[in-house]
Amino acid sequence: MTAPTRAPRRRALTLLLVGPLLCGLLLAGGITTTWLLFGEPVPAQGAVWFQVTKLGSARNEGGPQQPFFALILGTGARSDNLAESPDDPGLADAVHVIGVNPALKSATIIDIPRDTEGPGGAKVNSYIVNNPGGNELRTEADAVSSIVGVPITWVLRANFPHFQQMVDEIGGIDVNIPQPMDDDFSGAHFPVGPAHLNGEQALQFSRDRHSFSNGDISRTSNQGLLIVSALQTIQAKHPSAGDTVRLLATLGRHTKLDGVGVNDLFHMGSLSLTFDPANVKNVVLPVGAGGGSNLVKTGDATGLLADFADDGVLQSH
């Protein structure tokens, strides 16, 4: 009695299982046959299956990978030939140690007042003229290194005429003048606020110490500010690689170098142009009264210089 009902059920079940399989095979076969007979399906004219556009960029400026320290000196010499500079024997009244951290794209400028006492009790601005016939830049760097406690590998020095010419050749510097300046000695007469300084004015701005109650402390701070401002001014022009070559040629023409070549400066210059100026700190070395007119590092300097020495960047100051 059960056999007649089982057979249709089995057939239905078989059909249910085999049917979809056969339909799938039929469909696949049909598509395959069509593909073979008429070729690969082509999308509508002008269309593509997938169109992906990707943009990427990468840069490597070369040059140092690890933190390093450079010394920037500005002397009062009126000529490359000191015999033609009776007003000044070439004392370094601008002394700035720059710690550069390429990985962090950060830098710190430590401004050292010219009267800061160095090894043997001399003022820091004088070592450069106390080594006649020797390597005056290295002598100065060694003295500064002992004050700051970092190894100085690169030294750049400019005197009055070369500084002026250099600033003029790069097209001047935009500076936000922090304090009013009215000084006949240097010729600096500037109100507070933004100013575009040519070479002569930039020199006046850098030399003025009589406009401030703390004299050379503000002056050295302004010199550091001018360095940061120069970076900002150049960055604002979005220089190409070719522009950077010309800038570095200009720098090389107007500076004396020790421990660094123009090609190193090119790589370093290219890298520094990628720095956010906000990541370049400008700090005056904390100093107080010492013997005579000398200044000596205060207790505050110890922690600051330790923070500076480890990676060229001030994290806690």
């Binding site: 076969g29 990468a58 690689a241 070719g242």
Partner: protein
């Protein structure tokens, strides 16, 4: 009960035979073309490539020299013809190794890039910035691969002693070629590369700095690799 048995037992095989004919036909229609297709397309992509030409497609990389100038921190310098030639040699080696070979083969670049990058840039170029500097992971170009470059200007920098110390270049390369996917857009690569090269002391010029931007479009592109290293920045948009 027994009288019903013979018709039932004899009818079932008949129905099965009748139903079997279309099933076999369907299977033949479905499977034979599929087997034919498998047989025709078996093997790797190289074997399946169009057989319209017997000679392998060739790609010529010819980088024309543009304006050659120099500035100097010391005495005036010039870039000699030989120096220009060596710089172009380095750039040509780069284009062939970074673009032509990977697109032609569909495989990673195998050239000796240590011959044209210094140690510092080689490290970043072949690791963190590899996805930007090398056209790897793209569909293989099956037919002609067209590579065009704009004239390359050279700008030299002289040191304070009047020696040529480095050369900067701006290389613009446009490469495109059809892939094996019919109807799909060709792979198209445009690379703008500012390279700085310095002499290595053995007569060759090596890349010591780069600033590279690349735009690729086409089908089925692998993700562009980016990363940042010590003095290396990478970014994608």
């Amino acid at each position: 009960m027994e009288a019903r048995t013979p018709p039932c037992s004899s009818a079932r095989p008949r129905r099965t035979r009748r139903r079997g004919v279309p099933v076999v036909a369907v299977l033949v229609v479905a499977l034979v073309p599929a087997l034919l297709l498998v047989g025709c397309s078996g093997g790797d992509d190289e074997k399946a490539a169009p057989t319209t030409t017997s000679a392998a497609p060739k790609t010529t990389v010819d980088i024309p020299l543009g304006e050659v100038t120099a500035d100097s921190a010391g005495a005036p310098v010039t870039i000699s013809g030989d120096q220009s030639h060596r710089v172009l040699d380095a750039l040509t080696t780069y284009v062939k190794g970074a673009t032509v070979q990977p697109l032609r083969s569909g495989k990673p670049a195998t050239a000796d890039f240590g011959a044209i990058f210094d140690g510092n840039t080689l490290a970043s170029a072949t690791t963190t910035d590899r996805g930007i500097l090398f056209d790897e992971g793209l569909p293989q170009v099956a037919g002609d691969l067209t590579v065009t470059t704009q004239p390359v200007n050279l700008l030299g920098l002289g040191d304070q002693s009047g020696n040529l110390t480095l050369v900067t270049t701006s290389l613009v390369v446009d490469a495109s070629g059809a892939t094996k996917v019919k109807g799909a857009a060709p792979v198209h690569v445009v690379r703008l590369a500012d390279f700085t090269l310095q002499p290595d002391g053995f007569g060759s010029w090596k890349i010591t700095a780069y600033n590279v931007t690349v735009v690729r479009d086409g089908i089925d592109l692998a993700p562009t690799t980016t990363a940042a290293a010590a003095t290396t920045t990478g970014a994608t948009k």
